[in-house]
Amino acid sequence: MSLTLLATVALGLLAQQSDTVVAVLPGTRLDVDVMRGNVVVRTWDRNEVRVVGQPSSDGRLEVRLTNGTLQVRSVPERGGLSQTDVQVTVPRAMNLGIQGTFLSVDVSGARGEVTVETTHGNIQLVGGRGFVSAQSVQGTVTCRDAEGRLELGSTNGHVEVSGVSGTLKVESVNGGIELRDVRSGSVEASTVNGGIAYGGTLERSGRYQLSTHNGDVAVDVPAGTNATIAASTFGGAFESDFPVVLREAGGGGRQITITLGDGGARLELSSFNGSIHLRRP
């Protein structure tokens, strides 16, 4: 371990606007830790990482390559809060980890794993493969064109997802969830105060769970879909753009099941106070 630490290469302690290019081996991971500011990540076809940083006068930006991880970190000085804006250009397949407190993040073109955590700030992801996670406490989370196992959430904000494929888990507390052009056999979306809209594949062996307390749940159901739909509400209603045969499941509230075609996909839709709406796209 000591040798490894001794081998740590300090590539730069950057006090002002900086522009650093670091050669990296395939498999190197990027970790960005910026307390306050904006991080923009773009990709290219080079085995290099370019870091353009602009810390405020009360902070500096540190770039280190350690044990296969390139670390980019804002370091506040003199007790400052150190606003730092960073633009990083990385190899497309590089795995990314980005975190901060007052931090907005914009990642585009990634083809590796992406993990983003922020307390206050929006997250915008375009791309990402494998495990893709974006979590904000206060901010909107948007994700497009990602593939793999996706976990997206905002405590106090909306989550918007489009053009993704893989397994999808989306959560909010005080925000709506919009899922469009999803290709997935496993979707789990839940919020407490907000609506949920789903448009995408309803695969024969797929499972789709959409749940909210306050808000409507709307699902696009193309003609010819084979699905078993379990819809539950306490204070809302059930609506459909097309004729369906409702079967009361009983047991309190309004619980119904619908079988379309020969069944197949399992949809579990629930809203305590809102309505369940099946839409014909």
Partner: protein
Amino acid sequence: MKHQWTDRLSEYLDDELDAADRSAVEAHLRECEQCRSDLGQLEAVVARARELTDRLPAVDLWPAIVRRLGTAVEPVTDLTQRRARRRIAFSVPQLAAAGVALMLLSAGAVWLTVARNGPPVVAVDSAAPVAALTVSAELAAYDATIAELGAALRLDGDRLDTATVRVLEENLAIIDRAIAEARTALEQDPASRYLNGHLGRTLRRKVDLLQRAATLVTAAS
């Protein structure tokens, strides 16, 4: 940092993964001590859930939780280690919240056990009241623990910026209103599988948010 397979250990345990995912999980388990430990705890919880009656879970899981969450903090060398530290550096009240999560997980396991015995959708079976009773019994402990964690968060609140505190409080209030509504509905219809499940999910959301708050406090320390 959460591993890719962390959230799928339950599916692995329940033999719900396809062959490829199962192989991937097993390969990961061979390399990841943390996930092996998590799996062990899950197995213990599921085993206990199968035996649950209308009473609180035994406390004999606490030592393992305390050991795991109370691990000494090591110097930060990279983000992965730092995130791992955030997960394990809880204070005593935060451990209580973890205990609540475990209790709710136990309730959830019972619920799932009940659900698997019935049709795959929302039809009600005669076992639903058992789940209702279990959830009700755990609400008392839940309330007490939440109050304790809330007090701790108030004491440590100066570690968080006011904007974060405000957001957390607002969202906790939203969840509390939802819990209250679900409880009221459940009083009218205690056998409702949907209402039981909905209340359980909403309680879990509150625990998740409190644990997130605890993590933020720890990270800000």
